[in-house]
Subunit: 338 residues, 4 copies
């Protein structure tokens, strides 16, 4: 059994992670941490865990975490991760980080988009980006894995096959993305109040969303060319799900059938990618680790459509997928059948 | 033209009030107040008011409010109202208070349910309770009107005709009430986050909701007997609307037709009460000042069902109805046609 | 491996059932039936099953079903079940029927509430009512199990411990029940359109909902006294979840602690019942086979609150729970960890 | 008073239209038609109209409609309009048609996109397209007005100022549009069931939505060049609202300020267009006749964002706006203050 700690357990990705890990036959959750007063039972923080996990939320030090666990999942806000992860690693515990802190490889880019100096810059260039469909081979020996962002995974999974095959231009790719509200976290804020989001639809962070450099970095690395995207996120009145409607320019004429085949070949043997013929709905992949992708044409314009559950394939599910690869378990353990 | 101030303009009831008052031919909104830094335009606080109201949110003193306005609508949280209303009144401006501060007539009951000593107790016994269907005659000369709560209005309007006719027992009345989330206000809190409320249904404040003593006081006064209710509120994943399903015990056998007729007689000439034959949906009275009521039997058990828009008939609409009566305007001005 | 058929596979309970059974290590789904033209792949009918189940929806005869499967789950509308189940049984296949057809034990009661003469009346008195928390011992040897209704299970699980302990009066029990929309099925109807249900709340079928006699029959049988309820269902704008707020009369004074303990004792060793201290939300049991129950007092009035996922614990989950008991598998197989 | 008939009164746009017209001081609704049996009261068809409109839904002939009304609003499905409108016109009654039947000017284009031969082709070239912000001058003398589609109005209002100023290329304009579900109508269909739409997000009719030729025709006419768009509609789990995120290519460098000013100049004096600085939400224009528009840049890519209420500014509100212009009333009558 692998002993696992959940660091920062009060949010939605932590809850989702716990639910998945409770189904994992090789995992024992040994610690859940948060800074709440009085070490409340986790079932008080997340009532859905009543009768399912009998642990208290403790305010543990990095050393205590490393003593209790072989692998820690860090579900902290960006900035908070770099404050504790180096110490957890130093104490001999592996870490899968769900924050954005170790995703970018260039400290200057981090500072530009996050407005803060990165406090652990030497790890940036060397940390594995945990998108198993692209980087599975790098994961097994790692001590730290940077779990991808939700918009990021959706966009990268949709575009990587076509960029790698040089079927689309690497620049000016328009990504019109739509997300459910749970991706916004569990800290009370005006813009994620029910009465603000319900029956409402708007774009936000246009031209400045922090997943932009992450998408570009990973696609550039994967396709060995400078990729540049136009990324527009929208908030949708639903709990979970991201759908990206993507408008790339073809480098040469191609048919829908040819493009779908390119995608199917690219994702051959990848258990969580479904290249589908129909127009996918977020509801079809909700509560699963699947990413559904298809392509269409409108006149000569190619449209790539991809969707996934932002809390699972976009966060906690792929974290467990990474964990499985890290520990040498079957990649689909606890994730399939969904 | 009556000059009107909105005191505490950043919340949902204030917004709703402004929208209604903008349709009122006899009203000029002359001030909107809030404690926000920098006196932002009201359209910054409420983007839906863009192009509709060109005022800034100012942090005005009670005296400044009274100088600018003939009537002030106070949309403050309970406790905050008593801090400013006496001064606004002293400065010669009438007030319609949408908070709970002046609804109860007994300071001891206030203290019991709100956990604070009332700081303006002498006004408690003498303030008009602004439910025009019951107390219209008392409103015209008032300087201060206590606007009713949303659950309260729904429950009272459903029960008053039957209690006054002594058709139902005054005690043990079960009120199973369901409310949309906007009634919970616009201050960020965990329990009104989209991701907590959406796709969720639960009871809350069971046995201790503060509208309980208000319902009992007003129904007791209206029917001249000691009324006692069992009140259970539930939170429903929708913006607006309250529906109360009420289970009273009949004092003598009666038919559905007889009870409906009693209600229709009671509300004869009341423009906002619709005693209907069908089972009403909150959607049918949403965005209007109507309250829909019907009765049914399940075996011998009487069931009274009432619903209204908690932001309008349950708050800002009835406030304007009170305002119309106070100022001698047609009761339906700015409210009908809806 | 047990070979399983899903009869009537195009609806929501069938979809949910398939998803659960795909996680069952002892089950092979060998047939899915529907009357759709052209035997479409099940993934065309339910796109979420893409890549998860490679079967076509076939229009099979009862004999063909029995040839392919050891156990058939019937997900047909009431009335349709009695047309095929006797033939499936006659051909040697066991059946778990999710319709209402075999739940009532008296053909006259069936006719009164369903408006049709029952065509297989001899089986009514002898069919096991598949609520395992009450009737687990009767399930193993059965050839036919009547799977309970969703409102029914919620109400029965909430009330059985207190009725059996004679702590509450058996008559006049008010059940104010609220349900998500998926319980209304997948056949297009005006009253389950998005634009009718969304942002709407209403009671329906007041005094005449067909789960009423079912609740009364089972509770009467379980507590050996004539139980009579007042049942009021409401439609809530959310996909799944039922919450029942129940107002029984105590037979003698009792405390909240005593009543909770009575419930905990009653459900000792039952893995899917969580007697909780907090006020449960439907979201906490959504997508699980749990039923959460608590009690509260409002003055002297006892309030019992219970909730569950109407598609799982209220339909397909309990069907698998019944299947497990029928086949001698661990009761929680494919259902826990949730 | 202008006597008005609503032809095809059972749907959502008809309901919305009735609500607006009830506020119109110069209108008397004299007939509401539908094919329902038994001439039910309109309040039976639309319970929200209880106490507000005392008419029965009658199955009237075109001649009867023309006898009762000066202006008829046709809220029929496409194809059904052409069957009755010529006869209503022939009988001397003016018509505002909310269907798609008279929007396109070329019968061949109609046939290509709607799959049917147009049965009244001679009127196609000559019917006014009722988008008052562009064609107000043509409306007054008309006998027939083709009311625009909802996606169409959103797209045209967003793009017309920039196309007319030749600031953007006329081809390859990507319109990623998102719509609430009420636009899908009130006829029960699988894809507009609550349980299909709620918590779901998908694109639909990609490359073949019928508003495509309408957008292109009107923008081409308005800007006197051949406009060609890539139009992708999405269904959003909310009642009302359309938001279009549009990606045009600039013909020359321009700033956000310059583009906003171009828009403000273009819509000078147009009471329903709000060119805003903030990112608009559909909720801010919901239940109003406003269209909110802004522009942003993401790197060099221009993004135009527009939204409106698809039932009001996208259908019934603009229909009344057209009606006002047709009859010589103030354009904003019954529409502002909203």
């Amino acid at each position: 059994m692998v002993r696992v700690a959940i660091v920062g357990a009060s949010g939605y990705t932590a809850l989702e992670l716990i639910k998945i890990l409770l189904r994992h036959p090789q995992v024992k959750i040994t610690a859940v941490t948060s800074r709440q007063d009085g070490s409340p039972p986790i079932a008080t923080v997340h009532p859905s865990l009543t009768g399912r996990l009998d642990l208290r939320c403790e305010d543990l030090s990095p050393e205590q975490i490393a003593e209790r666990a072989d692998v820690a999942f860090a579900c902290l806000p960006h900035g908070a991760s770099t404050a504790v992860i180096p110490k957890i690693l130093a104490a001999g515990c592996k870490v899968i980080d769900l924050s954005a802190d170790y995703r970018l490889s260039d400290p200057a880019v981090y500072e530009q988009w996050y407005g803060e100096v990165h406090t652990d810059p030497t790890r940036l260039g060397s940390t594995v980006y945990g998108l198993p469909e692209l980087f599975a081979s790098k994961i097994p020996g790692s001590e730290l894995i940077a779990n991808p962002g939700c918009y990021t995974s959706t966009s990268i999974l949709a575009l990587a096959p076509l960029l790698c095959a040089k079927l689309i231009e690497p620049t000016g790719i328009i990504i019109d993305a739509k997300s459910g509200v749970m991706g916004g976290g569990r800290v009370p804020k005006l813009n994620t109040l029910f009465s603000e989001c319900n029956e409402a639809l708007s774009a936000y962070s246009v031209g400045k969303h922090r997943h932009t450099p992450e998408i570009e970095q990973v696609l550039s690395e994967a396709s060995r060319q400078q990729v540049q995207v136009v990324f527009t996120p929208h908030l949708i009145p639903m709990d979970r799900g991201i759908l990206a409607t993507i408008y790339p320019r073809l480098t040469r004429p191609a048919t829908q059938a040819e493009l779908l085949q390119t995608m199917r070949d690219f994702y051959q043997g990848k258990p969580f990618i479904r290249v589908v013929d129909h127009l996918p709905s977020t509801k079809d992949s909700a509560f699963t680790n699947y990413c559904d992708i298809t392509v269409r044409f409108c006149r000569e314009q190619l449209i790539v459509i991809a969707c996934l559950d932002n809390l699972i394939k976009g966060a906690s599910g792929v974290a467990v997928q990474n964990f499985n690869l890290l520990c040498g378990f079957e990649e689909t353990t606890a994730l399939l059948p969904a």
